[in-house]
Symmetry: C2
Subunit: 232 residues, 2 copies
DNA sequence: CATTATTGTCTCATTTTGTAACAATAGTAC
DNA sequence: GTACTATTGTTACAAAATGAGACAATAATG
């Protein structure tokens, strides 16, 4: 990680949403020997588009390309600059805080993105400073460094606002899904519950769903249809 | 303007909306002797919050403080880096493009904000590189440098999305206004027209308006009430 | 075949929205 | 003053959207 390749004082952070077991989850990194948790983030190369830097980082962290990404806010308060936190992390990783990684102690303005991905295909990979890169239920997050908690909150807020405007479900679910699964996604994001029949009527009225074959679960009841979204 | 005071490679641009004569307008700067138009922008000091940098710039450009501001996107494509444009501007202003202002030719990632302001109170002031800082109707903008046209489009898109979520009218109108004036604002932003009676019913149902005395225009018809928003 | 759980659809009441009508003015013309 | 005009605030009714429940269909089980 060579400082001179990157735009100074500029970083990005990503809130990576996945859905499993009726729950909305996000990926968090845990730094070696510190118990500190953070959002996956990175830096922007001097000869790279901002969006591409984020996609590069996401690919490294999840193994996925072609990810649904939304930029939602840029965090630029001075209060987010806490060099002592980064110093702790560097020391815990055996780096000299006055060595070649010293630039990590600088002030960073961070452009925040959220990603929606199909949970099943992710292979979380920690980076060199981290032990783990793991899914956490959004309602049970550990304490996060710097302003990362605020970033998550703003991501959630934004995701909720987009729930009715964009086809959020499309990116969190497999290609084919049942109406119930789709409803669970909407409920997890909005934090409320919907009436089954109203939800079904609303979704079908949007005319973005294609109905496929039934899905036999082996359970003793009528089998639901599988649906997919019309446009890829 | 001393390069070393600022965060390198980071700028902001502002889309300043005002409303007058039933039209939505924005403030544009014209650079000396070039015929080039741009959004008012600036740079962030190393010891300054991002938001504060923007407020500082807005105050300089408009004379106003306490402005309604929304950050809406950060533009970070390589394609927005066109050093020859900035070079032209520097030369036209009698600066040496290899002199102390050379840093202006660097690549900049720009955080974009829009502001909503009461047109009447603005005293537009050009900066040192500009002849003018003038209002332009959003449908009749001159050609803009770099990606500033894209920035305006995205600002408009964002403003439209916020039209029903936030009290947009509050910031573009005087303290007291008629229902018709409010409707004109909504129509100018949305680009559509609304039925008078439905609009009135909708606004009153929101219960955010206080009705005041009537406004006598001197015209031969019933005088409309003046309204204000409940919360400041 | 009866039972159970769940699904897709339909029905009806309620609420919201679209549309037009109407009465109330504030001026002008006379 | 009265008649007339333009615009406003409100009401009335139709149409559409939504909330809430009923109901039939069906995939398993015993």
């Amino acid at each position: 990680m060579e400082s001179s390749d990157f735009i100074p004082n500029l970083a990005y952070d990503s809130v990576i949403f996945g859905f499993s077991g009726d729950q909305l989850k996000i990926l968090l990194m845990e730094y070696h020997n510190t118990g500190l948790f953070a959002l996956p983030g990175g830096f922007v190369k001097k000869t790279e588009n901002l969006d591409d830097a984020v996609r590069r980082g996401l690919a490294e962290r999840t193994g996925l390309t072609h990810i649904y990404l939304e930029q939602f806010h840029t965090f630029g308060n001075l209060s987010r600059h806490k060099p002592e936190v980064m110093k702790t992390i560097l020391i815990a990783n055996g780096h000299d805080p006055n060595g070649p990684m010293r630039w990590l102690l600088d002030r960073f303005i961070s452009v925040a993105y959220y990603a929606l991905i199909d949970y099943r295909y992710v292979i979380p990979r920690p980076d060199e400073l981290s032990d783990s890169c793991t899914w956490y239920h959004v309602d049970q997050l550990p304490e996060l460094i710097l302003d990362h908690r605020e970033i998550v909150n703003k991501a959630l807020e934004n995701l909720r606002e987009n729930l009715d405007r964009k086809l959020v479900g499309m990116n969190l679910l497999p290609e084919k899904f049942t109406m119930q699964e789709l409803q669970r996604v909407y409920e997890a994001i909005s934090g409320t519950s919907f009436r089954r029949t109203s939800f079904q009527r609303k979704m079908l009225a949007m005319e973005v769903l294609i109905r496929h074959e039934k899905k036999y679960s082996g359970k003793a009841h009528k089998a639901p249809y599988l649906y997919s979204f019309t446009r890829k």
